[in-house]
């Protein structure tokens, strides 16, 4: 028995096996690294596909309302089960200068709707917002983010939209339409909700819902900062608030267990959330990226309660003990040791956080060793993902970037409001900048990942304040890959929370992470030169499944055994 970061005794995770695998693969990966370095062409083709005519209306004002610099989310999911990823984009709303009370954001105006775009077979998109009955985002709602999962296990992915205002749960009816079931489900919340995600915290097979909230703020109590610069105020100017946790009762309704679970014991200024079982105890834990303060790591106690233990675990502050301006986050294994690590995007001069999972519930800041010190110290990051874009067997980093302040260049000449996204390829745990293909700087915010054209190479969609979304289509290559769709039987149907290992790489099944956004639920693995794979799946139900000699370059559905 060992003490973990929360000072509790835990059994040692079986990480020794994973380390052996990683070592075995090392020599081959060194070779792959050389191959990756020789590729000088951009990783992505930058596209605005036909039909994707969305503009993110954040409505900047002279009042510098904080909400206007924060949207908006994007989700990649297959709402009609036709095998093609569709795109849902969250819109902000119309702000006036100053806002009148009661606040209305003109959301009945189509210009300010959220939008669902169905992907067609030719890669173009069709706006199906009205047909899908998603044209009513709520009159008092300014849109923020989106979470996606099949919360009722009916085989169709549902949508949860967060707002400054009330949140909305849209049930997917399975016929191309959605129904607003917020009132029945009891998940409207309130205040300023930001990122959200579905996960099964009590392993009962029903997906629960975590909603981050930023701060206690409204347009009536807004203010500007920076004196003559007149700019957005830092978060510390406004009171902190609590996050929300809803337990899925399994009957289409949710119970607010924020207090009961201990999630609401601490107030914060949360912007991002990601899930993984960091201490291998079989229960999914929660990492919350807080802005301008310490980060929160909620350890799942396995009894429907959580203990916040980021400080004791080493994942709360920078390596220098300074608070971070946490915005986006991802909770995945970047160094193929089998244990989920934490990345947090932050403001310039802070360096994006990279917390390596050392095992036994402890993390070590590794932002310098990973190369992020040189790559990110001058940048502001929002949406973020760890995906293997070059299929070399190592998860790479893609970050949506742009400063919070639209006039930051007046204040500090060395900083920039608009920035290109950061693409950094992972070379055995160290990241090196690569050409994303985006040459012009943008105000990036949301970022979602998925294989849009089902070619086995991961793509991404980036949202841009006041602009069109940018679709990053992976140019592909010759390496092998494997994409797994989990089909839970005793666990949730989507298998969220499962740990999947393929040829020594580990992914934690989740659609959450990034910032305001929801990713393709399919699990993608780059296989490098291997044309076969050994797959291990640890399901939230406790079932373990092993598949040997799976063929590379395929979409594989793995069904959970009915019995242990």
């Amino acid at each position: 028995m060992h003490l973990d970061g929360c000072g509790l005794e835990r059994d040692l995770p079986a990480s020794g096996w994973l380390r052996v695998d990683a070592h075995r693969l090392l020599s081959r990966r060194r070779f792959l690294r050389l191959a990756a370095l020789s590729a000088a062409t951009p990783v992505f083709d930058v596209r605005l596909p036909r039909g994707l005519d969305f503009t993110l209306q954040n409505s900047s004002t002279a009042q510098k309302y904080l909400i206007e610099t924060m949207p908006g989310g994007v989700a990649l999911f297959d709402y009609n089960n036709d095998g093609l990823l569709d795109i849902f984009l969250v819109n902000g709303g119309r702000l006036t200068s100053p806002m009148q009370v009661p606040e209305r954001f003109d959301r009945t105006n189509p210009r300010y709707w959220n939008r669902l775009y169905r992907q067609n077979k030719d890669g173009s998109f069709t706006d199906v917002t009205e047909a899908a009955r998603l044209a009513n985002p709520g009159i008092g709602n300014y849109g923020m983010g989106v979470a996606v999962a099949d919360y009722d296990n009916d085989g169709f992915a549902d949508l949860f939209v967060t707002n400054y205002g009330k949140n909305i749960l849209y049930h997917n009816n399975g016929d191309g339409t959605f129904t607003d079931v917020t009132a029945k489900a009891g998940v409207a919340g309130g205040g300023w909700s930001v990122s959200a995600g579905f996960f099964d915290y009590n392993n009962d097979g029903h997906l629960d819902l975590f909603v981050t909230r930023y701060m206690e703020w409204d347009t009536k109590h807004s203010k500007t900062c920076g004196g003559a610069w007149r700019t957005y105020c830092p978060p510390a100017e406004f009171p902190a608030t609590t996050n929300l946790l809803y337990r899925n009762r399994g009957d289409g309704t949710f119970q607010d267990v924020s207090q009961k679970s201990g999630i609401a014991n601490k107030k914060g200024r949360a912007l991002g959330v990601a899930f993984a079982d960091y201490n291998a105890d079989g229960f999914t834990d929660v990492f919350v990226a807080n802005d301008g303060m310490q980060q929160y790591l909620y350890r799942n106690n396995g009894d429907e309660t959580f203990t916040e233990c980021a400080l004791e675990s080493g994942a709360a502050l920078s390596a220098d003990g300074k608070p971070l301006s946490g915005m986006g986050t991802v909770f995945q294994d970047y160094d193929n040791d089998g244990q989920p690590d934490i990345f947090v995007t932050v403001l310039p001069r802070e360096i994006y956080g990279a917390y390596h999972n050392d095992g036994e519930g402890l993390f070590t800041s590794r932002n310098l060793e990973t190369g992020l010190g040189a790559l990110t110290a001058g940048s502001s990051g929002w949406g973020v993902g760890l995906e293997d874009f070059d299929n070399d067997g190592w998860k790479d980093l893609l970050v949506a970037q742009s400063h919070v302040l639209d006039n930051v260049e007046d204040i500090d000449h060395s900083l920039h409001y608009l920035e290109p996204p950061l693409l950094a390829l992972n070379h055995e745990g160290r990241f090196e900048r690569a050409d994303s293909g985006i040459t012009i700087p943008v105000a990036g915010r949301g970022l979602a990942f998925g294989d849009l054209n089902n070619d086995g190479w991961m793509d991404a969609v980036l949202t841009v304040l006041g602009g069109h979304p940018i679709v990053l289509m992976n140019r592909g290559g010759k390496r092998h890959w494997l994409t797994i769709t989990l089909r839970g039987t005793r666990s949730s149907r989507d298998g969220l929370g499962a740990r999947v290992r393929v040829n020594g790489q580990t992914r934690f099944a989740t659609t959450a992470g990034s910032y305001l956004s929801a990713n393709d639920r399919r699990l993608h693995f780059g296989l490098g030169d291997s044309n076969s794979a050994v797959i291990d799946v640890w399901w939230p139900s406790g079932a373990h499944q092993e598949i040997k000699d799976a063929r590379a370059d395929q979409f594989l559905e793995v069904r959970e055994p009915e019995r242990l």
Binding site: P348, T364, L368, T370, G371, G373, A377, D412
Partner: protein, 353 residues
């Protein structure tokens, strides 16, 4: 006290009873804080005894006390006409003239009585920055850390620097030194592209000037261009192998780039060149931790804590030690360091670093 001395002085002189009475009444009124009455009485005393310098001095002093420096100047000047040796009148007149903006006129009076604080200010006002620095530095010896004196000394130094640079620019407008000075200015204004350009120009003209690559490196570090910063700091460190700052800066750039072993070596070199610099030791602890040299990390941070005690850097060192001990499974020590970190964090966050 001052007035009592005057009375002693008056007793030795042949002053008319009327003048003496007005003087006494004036002194009493002053003691009671009735300054208007005191002024009226001292004025009557000057009328009754127009050659009595003490009467004019007292009148001027009370005017000055009411803040009416304009009215104080004439009686104080008259007092000095009657008795040029009257130090009290020199002092008061110096202050009054300075307050009224006649700094040049005030200087001889303040010099005579060595009123160094006011003299320093007057010298700043008249552009005598070097002299002001001397006066204020001498005043600071008597009143160390006095905020006003420190402020004026800083101001005098800054203005002297500006004046010197202006002279330099006039005399050698396209010289390497001018470009270097311009680089410093742009750097202070955080106009980094311009700062880089000026430093580069300076370096092209005079690559022999020490410190140029260090300054260029700071520009790159300030804009998070750590590869270029490393290159510049390395050039400076090669050029000046005995320069501890160059070694320290190179070490931090290497650390930022994740080059743990190299950073550790360079920071150790900086520590050897200039021991017990807390910033060097703190970074050395980080580099050592990155390099897996736990004993060196512990030693460095423990030294920072000993040197700094209650500062934010000490808090950071405690935080580093907590992580190190946690990593080593030394739970009790980790908890102790974390508690110290939290204690210092709460105390240092309430005051500027």
């Amino acid at each position: 006290m001052k007035f009592a001395i005057l009375f002693f002085s008056l007793a030795l002189q042949s002053v008319s009873p009327e003048a003496a009475q007005h003087m006494q009444t004036g002194v009493e009124a002053h003691k009671q804080g009735r300054l208007d009455l005191a002024i009226a009485e001292f004025r009557k005393a000057t009328e009754a005894a127009p050659n009595l310098p003490e009467a004019f001095l007292d009148l001027g002093e009370v005017y000055a006390e009411t803040g009416n420096y304009a009215a104080a100047i004439a009686p104080l000047k008259r007092a000095l006409e009657l008795n040029p040796e009257l130090d009290g009148a020199h002092l008061q007149l110096g202050y009054a003239l300075l307050a009224q903006g006649y700094a040049g006129e005030a200087i001889p009076h303040l010099e005579r009585v060595r009123a160094l604080e006011a003299l320093g200010v007057a010298q700043i006002e008249t552009g005598l920055y070097q002299e002001a620095i001397a006066s204020l530095s001498a005043a600071l010896v008597k009143r160390p850390n006095n905020p006003d004196l420190l402020y004026y000394l800083g101001r005098a130094s800054g203005l002297l620097s500006k004046k010197t640079i202006e002279t330099l620019i006039r005399a050698h407008p396209d010289s390497a030194r001018v470009h270097e000075a311009m680089g410093e200015n742009y750097f202070a204004l955080r106009q980094m592209p311009q700062a880089e350009q000026e430093y580069r120009e300076a370096w092209l003209q005079r690559p022999d000037i020490p410190g140029l690559q260090l300054e260029l490196g700071l520009v790159y570090a300030g804009t998070e261009q750590w590869d270029k910063a490393e290159e510049a700091f390395r050039a400076e460190a090669n050029r000046q192998p005995g320069n501890a700052e160059a070694a320290y800066r190179l070490g931090t750039a290497l650390l930022q780039r994740g080059k743990a072993q190299e950073a550790r070596a360079e920071l150790q070199r900086a520590d050897k060149l200039q021991p017990d610099m807390p910033e060097t030791l703190y970074s050395l602890g980080k580099a050592a931790l990155l390099a897996g040299e736990f004993a060196l990390a512990e030693k460095s941070w423990t030294r920072v804590v000993a040197l700094e005690k209650e500062t934010s850097l000490a808090a950071q060192a405690h935080f580093g030690l907590a992580g190190l001990y946690r990593k080593q499974g030394k739970t009790a020590q980790a908890q102790h360091e974390m508690q110290e970190f939290q204690r210092l964090q709460s105390s240092t966050s309430s005051r500027p670093n």
